[in-house]
């Protein structure tokens, strides 16, 4: 089209690529014909995760887009073509290949690593760490090297050190300042960081100014420092900061900052309004922003400028959290407290756990001005909310950085979150967006979800979203309906009590007597599985009985776990993780016969994937004949009891943890509950079974067993809490009986013990009063009820395969015996997986 303008972008790094994405996604290619020049061979790649190149990721997997993205989008990408001149008079950029006219030009040339002017810095094996080609050079140089040194102990320097370590070099870091990461941490934090990094075998030398580099004796190079001390090494990587790549801009007379950088305004315009600059080459308000997020914000502002919008760049928060060499480092706002003369500081240092936290607060104690974290970033998100949103601090600000076990509660409730707080990061929904939706008429959670898409991405924010919506509805005087769904005006706990007290044994009887009369009588995918679980907890009838089968989720219906292509995975019970060689062989034979992908699970058993619906009964017939029983991996029920090998084999073990794990798993197998339940049993305090991350954790002592409860791994890890000590076997069973039944009775649907415990009024103390002191007088009943579940256990699969009527369900098609032809498998690493 003749009306199209020529837009040239110099630089195909992360920020330049982000600008292209903005242009493509927002229809700007009708207006501009876009040409991108990249000096490197590769199209734009993820520089933030560059070090993963050495741990197996290749250029293609680091790339920010598919190989044909530019071509199919209609953007011309010219890689390996460096721009050597910008001719502002003729509005052309010049490369060795030719001259290209532009109407608008964007500089996204980024930065280059600063190499200190040390004699010898250009010797062979003196390298930098910035591009994939740099990494190839480092890798090549490392092949004949045993030692490596990184000059510079900042963020990038430590990443480079990690890379050298990954190449099996004896690694040292040399830093000019008195501590590592001088920009982000203070002396205490730097000292802790040094200890942690030295513990990884990386030598740390601070206050060292390299004077020259010369031939070494034992190694290729010798670095000579200011006090004539020396360090020999085969390989040197310079990572002493970055400098903006502003040479093209300098040569064509654009305004440059005193210490480099192309000066831009809020629209990312340079001193020539036809030319913009973004990313690390741009100098905004005397600042260069060396992080990717501000670069992306500049790209958005530049897009807006190019297309007549009004989005501007207004600076960026440089708060960061990082994991360097496995060590958490976090820095928020004025972390050093040197920009606010009246600021006050709190410090917490744990020399055993090696954690350091510092708060910088305003003189009136109300606002968080900055924070510094070393060794543990778990409070970073909360602190960032306080800082970024100017939330008033609690009366005891120190509680925010004290360890949680001392009673502090540093998480923010929904009421304390500001309007700008991000609730759903997948769809970028803030609390303010949610409030606006409610004000516009949304009256419940599903209304908010439909309007905002919140919680429809990864789903990780479901609980937070619900608490925010409930809180906002309550704040507006809307009575929050705690009904389980539209079919019952009751909570799960109320339904449980109704079922138990009235002895109701079927869903149809329950909905007939207690369902809402103005709705249909079918129930739904919320109440049916919940009631199925309640009925099973109370009466333990087979879930595949005709009255119960329509209530079950597909996994319970077919007693296997549906995978994304409609096939199932099969997990037989391996109590305590103990299995005989003969049974292992059977698992292998069955997997082979039915072409099942095999994987060991985190719960110490073996998962067989890719089973077709119609094969499940035959598979289970063979497994049951070999002595296996169902593992309930598909159910909201007891999953596994993980164990370490215990006193039977281990020289440290003080009790038979495997024996106990098998006892417990066989006692509670088949118990249906509000959510899945996992146990762990460790044979000594070394805790190899990771019992403290389980719903029920048991750790052997010299005198018996310590019981921990309400732990969790997964999305929100929670350490289990010590509940009772030195229990004998009998008392341990009885305590767990009561605890589990109390949980089954009172928890919400799909509520793990950890969340149940956090929402329990009265907390752990109340739980101890109920379970250990019988303050409600219900313990006999809880124990009786558990005993009835234990006594009525039967393997659901054994029950099903002996019943032809139940087996009819296991057909892919009722009018054809052949399998579903659309399930396609492919081979990977010697096994089948979905194509």
């Amino acid at each position: 089209m003749s009306t199209q303008q020529q837009l040239i972008i110099i630089g195909n790094g992360m920020v330049g690529h982000h600008l292209v994405e903005q242009l493509v996604d927002n229809g700007a290619l009708e207006r501009y014909q876009v040409t991108v020049f990249g000096e490197e061979r590769h199209r734009a790649y993820d520089r933030v995760h560059l070090s993963e190149y050495f741990s197996g990721r290749d250029a293609d997997s680091l790339a920010l887009c598919e190989a044909d993205y530019y071509a199919t989008s209609g953007v011309e990408l010219r890689t390996s073509e460096a721009v050597i001149e910008i001719d502002r008079n003729s509005q052309e950029v010049v490369t060795e290949q030719g001259r290209y006219p532009y109407d608008r030009l964007v500089l996204a040339t980024g930065s280059f690593p600063f190499v200190p002017p040390i004699p010898g810095n250009d010797r062979d094996g003196c390298l930098v760490y910035r591009t994939l080609d740099d990494l190839d050079a480092i890798q090549a140089a490392a092949e004949n090297a045993t030692t490596g040194v990184v000059v510079g102990g900042g963020l990038l320097g430590l990443e480079a050190a990690n890379a050298l370590r990954g190449l099996n070099l004896d690694t040292a870091v040399v830093e000019f300042a008195s501590r590592l990461m001088p920009m982000q941490v203070d002396n205490e934090g730097g000292e802790l960081l040094r200890e942690k990094i030295e513990a990884l075998g990386v030598q740390v030398l601070t206050e060292r100014a390299t004077q020259r580099i010369e031939d070494g004796e034992a190694s290729r190079h010798r670095m000579v420092f200011q006090d004539d001390k020396v360090l020999e090494t085969d390989l040197i990587v310079f990572s002493a900061g970055i400098r903006p790549r502003d040479q093209l801009a300098r040569d064509c007379g654009l305004e440059i900052g005193e210490r480099g950088g192309v000066v831009v305004d809020n629209q990312c315009l340079t001193s020539d309004p036809a030319i913009l600059a973004i990313g690390e080459v741009a100098l905004w308000n005397q600042s260069i922003f060396g992080l990717v997020a501000p670069g992306y914000q500049m790209a958005k502002a530049a897009f807006s400028t190019l297309t007549g919008g009004d989005t501007q760049f207004g600076g960026a928060d440089m708060s960061t959290k990082l994991k360097l060499l496995g060590v958490d480092v976090g820095s928020i706002g004025d972390a050093h407290g040197n920009q606010n003369p009246s600021a006050r500081m709190f410090r917490y240092l744990d020399p055993i756990k090696q954690e350091y936290r510092k708060l910088v607060i305003s003189s009136d104690g109300k606002k968080l001005l900055g924070a510094m974290l070393v060794g543990n970033n778990s409070v970073y998100d909360t602190l960032l909310q306080y800082y970024a949103n100017g939330i008033e601090l609690p009366d005891e600000p120190a509680s925010l950085i004290l360890p949680q076990s001392s009673g502090a509660a540093p998480t923010l409730g929904p009421g304390a979150l500001p309007e700008t707080a991000s609730i759903c990061s997948c769809h970028n929904v803030t609390k303010g967006d949610i409030c606006a939706t409610i004000d516009a008429g949304a009256v419940d959670l599903s209304g908010v979800k439909t309007a905002t898409k919140a919680s429809t991405g990864c789903g990780g924010c479901t609980a937070l979203l619900k608490s925010v919506v409930d809180h906002e509805l309550e704040a507006r005087g809307v009575e929050v309906d705690k009904s389980i769904c539209e079919h019952f005006a009751h909570t799960r706990q109320e339904l449980y009590d109704i079922v138990r007290v009235e002895g109701i044994k079927t869903f149809s009887e329950l909905i007939e007597k207690h369902g809402n009369q103005d709705t249909h009588c079918l129930g739904c995918d919320i109440c049916k599985p919940a009631v199925a679980s309640i009925l099973a907890s109370c009466f333990n009838e087979p879930i595949t009985d005709a009255a119960h089968i329509p209530l079950q989720d597909t996994n319970d219906t077919f007693m296997a776990n549906m995978q994304k292509n409609g096939t199932y995975s099969v997990v037989p019970r391996v109590a305590g993780g103990e299995i005989t060689p003969d049974k292992l062989i059977v698992l292998g034979e069955v997997a082979k016969k039915y072409s099942l992908y095999s994987k060991v699970t985190g719960g110490q058993r073996i998962d067989l994937f890719g089973a077709r619906l119609e094969d499940l009964p035959d598979i289970w017939g063979e497994l049951i004949a070999a002595g296996f029983e169902t593992g309930h991996a598909y159910g909201k029920s007891l999953r596994t009891v993980k164990s370490c090998v215990g006193s039977t084999w281990c020289r440290y073990g003080v009790q038979d943890s495997v024996g106990m794990a098998i006892q417990l798993e066989n006692r509670y197998k088949g118990l249906r509950s509000p959510h899945k339940i996992k146990f762990g049993v460790s044979g000594c305090t070394r805790e190899c079974a990771e019992a403290q991350s389980k719903d029920i954790g048991i750790i052997a002592t010299e005198n018996g067993w310590n019981l921990y409860v309400c732990g969790n791994g997964g999305m929100r890890p929670r350490h289990a809490e010590l509940f009772a000590t030195d229990l004998d076997d009998e008392l341990l069973y009885r305590t767990i009986d009561r605890f589990l039944m109390f949980y089954v009775r009172t928890a919400d649907r799909l509520q793990r013990t950890s969340v149940w415990r956090e929402n329990l009024d009265g907390g752990l103390e109340y739980l101890k009063e109920v379970i250990l002191e019988d303050s409600l007088g219900i313990n006999d009943e809880l124990e009786r009820q558990m005993q009835s579940v234990v006594d009525s256990y039967q393997c659901e699969w054994a029950d099903a395969i002996s019943d032809p009527e139940k087996l009819k369900r296991f057909r892919s098609f009722v009018n054809d015996d052949r399998p579903d032809p659309s399930i396609i498998m492919t081979s990977e690493r010697g096994q089948l997986r979905p194509a």
């Binding site: 994304k564 292509n565 009722v814 009018n815």
Partner: protein
């Protein structure tokens, strides 16, 4: 998939018997092959025996077995329910709801499953392909 996957090769766009009442599962679904003018299709058949007098009008529904959100043939294995008076099936994988009456997805107005007429003829289940 090919036409040979069909047992019943009745001419297109007419009523065909797919299975018997005994093949169905009350308040749940089964899958069957159906011959359609576009070729063989996997159909989910749901059976909701009448119980209360009010509301629910039909006992049988036939929808696509194919779940467009997961690209797997799994719809017949979803849970039956009703949402605001409409009988629905929830996808067993990602839990979207589809109205049994017309196949409309309640979470995404752009997604709609195909539906077919279905009825008992004696003990047989017939579908209009």
């Amino acid at each position: 998939m090919t036409a040979t996957a069909l047992k019943h090769t009745v001419s297109t766009d007419t009523w065909q018997p797919l299975c018997t009442k005994a093949d169905l599962v009350a308040f749940s679904g089964v899958a069957a092959w159906l011959n359609t003018p576009e070729g063989p299709a996997q159909v989910a058949i749901f059976y909701l025996p009448r119980q209360r007098s009010q509301g629910q009008e039909k006992e049988l529904y036939a929808l696509d077995h194919f779940d467009p959100f997961s690209n797997a043939n799994v719809i017949a294995r979803g849970i039956i329910g009703d949402v605001k008076g409409n009988p629905v099936v929830a996808s067993p994988l990602y839990k979207q709801h589809f109205r049994l009456e017309d196949g409309q997805c309640l979470e995404d107005e752009n997604i709609k499953l195909r539906t077919w007429k279905v009825a008992f003829r004696g003990e047989e289940v017939w579908v209009a392909g």
